[in-house]
Assembly symmetry: C2
Homo-oligomer: 299 residues x 2
Amino acid sequence: VIRPTTIVVAPRLTKRLGLNVVIASETFQITGSFKFRAAYNVASRVRENLIITASSGNFGQALACACSMLKKSSIVVMPKTSAKVKVDAVREFGGQVEFVDVGVKSRAERVRELGIEHPDAYVASAYDDPLVIEGNASLGRELAALDYPFSDVVVPVGGGGLSAGIIKGICRSGRRIAVVGAEPLLGNDAARSFEAGKIICNESEPQTIADGARTVSLGEHNWAVLKDGLDGIVEVPEEKIIEGVRLLFELANLKAEPTGALSIGALLTEPERFEGRSVCCVVSGGNVDATVFTNILSA
Amino acid sequence: VIRPTTIVVAPRLTKRLGLNVVIASETFQITGSFKFRAAYNVASRVRENLIITASSGNFGQALACACSMLKKSSIVVMPKTSAKVKVDAVREFGGQVEFVDVGVKSRAERVRELGIEHPDAYVASAYDDPLVIEGNASLGRELAALDYPFSDVVVPVGGGGLSAGIIKGICRSGRRIAVVGAEPLLGNDAARSFEAGKIICNESEPQTIADGARTVSLGEHNWAVLKDGLDGIVEVPEEKIIEGVRLLFELANLKAEPTGALSIGALLTEPERFEGRSVCCVVSGGNVDATVFTNILSA
């Protein structure tokens, strides 16, 4: 069911970065981001026929699509202010959208309420669930099986579900590839967690342009994998995220969402770290509004 | 050397079009378009070490790149007014750019002059050469070998090199798949050629947004294949080309150049023709300036 990741070799991007880079793009995954790997694993592995989650982004449409493929139902809690394109996407994939006025009630609270209303439902976390890690591990397995001799995989980090999954997948393959996280400097809780040796939270959702990484903290299940499995974290300033989106567009013909471009942003931020190495940059998704995208290209 | 085409399955696009569609994208081919298939075949098959061509577009950079990979040299004749990004791309791939003031002298004339200056050089046509058809046939072979049961392949048509190659490649595989051309209505010489049963020329380069299809006529070698091998031609109005680019961006996460989106434009123009069939749309390339692209998205 899962579509294999798309390997993009971009000599002009390689030349511009001055580094040996190959891209693993999840932009053509079902529903346009890696989230489908996790969502499908959750939806197919739990016994419940109704799954509830809170997501204004990629996990919502991924779960809606996975449920519809498995003849299950889904309820996706979204802020009343969500962009129409995102609401439409969830509905197009057959999900039921439940709006919440986040000024009055948090999304998590609304999910809890719905869980009580529907005692027969499974409440799914978008990034803190062993089934999520397991689903994302499929990408790690794919990367490890590729016939490219890369030494490092650079992965966007929000809640840490993707990086944890990739570490697990690579680990099981027996190949030794370093996994480096790329998180927005504006929401650098993962970097601070590593320094502290325990999960540190952002005070509020960081307002980074990388909207898939607007998480308050790493998930606990993910942290258990990341704390020893991650080789390091690069904190990417906003302008490097934007430059990453632009370079992927201009030199690799790739439409990436800002969160997806964090990995290229990491190479722009700390090029010396990757010198002489062979790097695989994971572009985690491509779902970005035309307006946001044209603003980035015109900036 | 050739990168396999990228198959993109886009359920939302399929749903919007109301047709069963899969995309074969050449946007991640080396140098960002199918032209590399032809250019590499030419550069590797001729004995000459210097190759001269006229191209302000994708063939120029494809040839420059192929020559540089094969340790050969290339001269690409471009109008003085060419966009800087296109000139830069040719040079980045190691090509020597020769400017011509097209108000004073045509590109073809300048190529002839250079051919006399360099009697040891091969003068390559971007779309009318058996080696070009042969190079593009590799895409036909790939499509025929895919495990998708499509009945039709829709292909952008400019000079006809790509469609002729695909027909040859499919033909040799023994599979019966109809090949339908998609050309801009503004430069509908191919459609008129089919009606007349012989090559009909446009009076001048048609000023369509699909700049890869601004050809005056089909190539003669291509016509010999197309006249019996092509199943039909759809004439695509400019607004449907633009809508094609936009739909590919929004519903398939694909950055396509306008010429590449002609195939989706054909489905938008004559949906009834493809009803109940299973269609593979070839997106021939993705090299489009950020300004042109943002204008299309904002339109």
